[in-house]
Symmetry: C2
Amino acid sequence: MTEFELIARYFQRRSPSALVGNGDDCAVIAPTPGHAFAVTTDTLIEGRHFLPTLLPEKLGRRAVHVNLSDLAAMGAQPRFALLSLTLPAIDEGWVAAFSRGLWSALNEFSVELVGGNTTRGALSVSLTAFGEVAPGRALLRSGARSGHDLWVSGPLGDAGWALTALLQDRDGAGQIAVTATTEQIERYESPTARVGLGLDLRGVASSCIDISDGLLSEAGHLATASGVGMDIYLSAIPTGVAQVRYDDVADAAGKLSAHAITTDVHAACRALLAQRCVLHTGDAYELLFTAAPRHRATIEGLFSKHALAGARIGVVTSARPGANVCVLDARGRPLDIEATGWDHFAEVP
Amino acid sequence: MTEFELIARYFQRRSPSALVGNGDDCAVIAPTPGHAFAVTTDTLIEGRHFLPTLLPEKLGRRAVHVNLSDLAAMGAQPRFALLSLTLPAIDEGWVAAFSRGLWSALNEFSVELVGGNTTRGALSVSLTAFGEVAPGRALLRSGARSGHDLWVSGPLGDAGWALTALLQDRDGAGQIAVTATTEQIERYESPTARVGLGLDLRGVASSCIDISDGLLSEAGHLATASGVGMDIYLSAIPTGVAQVRYDDVADAAGKLSAHAITTDVHAACRALLAQRCVLHTGDAYELLFTAAPRHRATIEGLFSKHALAGARIGVVTSARPGANVCVLDARGRPLDIEATGWDHFAEVP
């Protein structure tokens, strides 16, 4: 099977909304009059953004959702995509499964794949996504104001916990044995872009970002872009299922603050790991956004409408010297936590 | 240096035409009213699309031009780009040189880099380019009609010849020692997108494609998309500089047709290699287009205006059974040449 046959069989479909679709030098596409395109590109590399054990169907789905998550964070309606696929070789079974996952996710949002390229090399998937938004209605990072609430669209921590467990399955457990539930692994491998919520937050949220790197890192981006500070209430963060429970996290915070990790080292380490998953690890793909307090009932209603376990987790403050994001424990005391996110060039700890 | 610092220092610049520029979840961009975006994405992988010896500054330039070449083939005005850069590690000197080449090429065409991502892995550069075109004016592959002329915007063969020479420098010469001139190597490493010509061909060319893979492969795409056949006159193809001379090519054709490679095997092999470079090898990034004969003087004028050594190399015929592209030697006899292009999954011969 040649490159052209591969593309024709698995990736070329009619794109009814494109002015020129798949199969010319370029696709030609235009937003609906009065709208603009929100555009974003994300690359998924084997061994860095996903484990080699990830099923190809899930990889196809994931490539779509991590890009649509950026569109969701702008309040944009997904419309088109371009795909750059780098494969070590043509394994038709693999490509068929990958394309099933890809198309299933694209079709869910009526996104048309209008072009791309395939080549040979280390496995990597790069998608460019085009959403549509009226320019003045786009959700930016820069609109947070002192006194606004800080919200997250769903529980955090599961993805980091699942990744830790999967790495232990592969490499053997360290000091703390971590096991993840099927649901946690599913949340890590197959995140869901909060597209519907993003669209409904237009005119409601004052700033928005998606949590691809980690809560504190993303909150820092909102704070920097808006020129504000943020207080996050640790006990208000929804923390997913099973092992990553609030009391673990709160406990870790207490023990960390008190420098009192003495009695049960194992439990304390687990709790610290849980805290790290909630605050620092990425791959959650929930929306983090701010809104004026008058929108609280509206936002709770949107969480219900979209069946999301979102929560109000903090408040926007005026800008302040030093760290612009502060995490407070249940008693309102600031924790000494570095607001670092995922740096692709830093060593994995 | 972190990923965010790297992006900020080398890749974030103001994008005055974007509604939302670099630094949010998405860029927000819109074409000029009455226009649409022509969009394309191309990936350059070390060892497959460029040699590890390619200087980073040239790689940056090349990533821009190979993508703009697709815009040129649509008659689109380049406007914006997104960059996905995968690096084995942060080497600031390398990144600085790469970004110099990238920005130099972007600035030449007033293209604004509005976003992208960096990650760690095997060296790879993926660019998505956005051009602007009035939908009805885009140059498509599908408009060639019987009786139209077939044109190429410049000489072919240099890139393939240079690549052969560079591979021999690395691996040692085979039966035929190939050396390339500085000019040939420059044409291979630093192709130039024919953006100005593409814009001027709107309303003139009936179909257009850029030669990224190889002449016969691209001619086949035009023929298939247009539902026509094509006759290409071997002796009319402009064939670059130095070693790749017309007489070599014509000679090869004659010898191939006559099955008479007996007297000077070395010269015959060189000539066959030259022919292969002209007809089959890619990386030329010239435009291949068709136009009605009434536009001949206009097209000659455009070649002069843009200082291009283009030529009329064939004619469009009606569709016919079998191969839709036929190469004719100086006496009008069809050559037995397979119309294959570059297949990324086929073994390099």
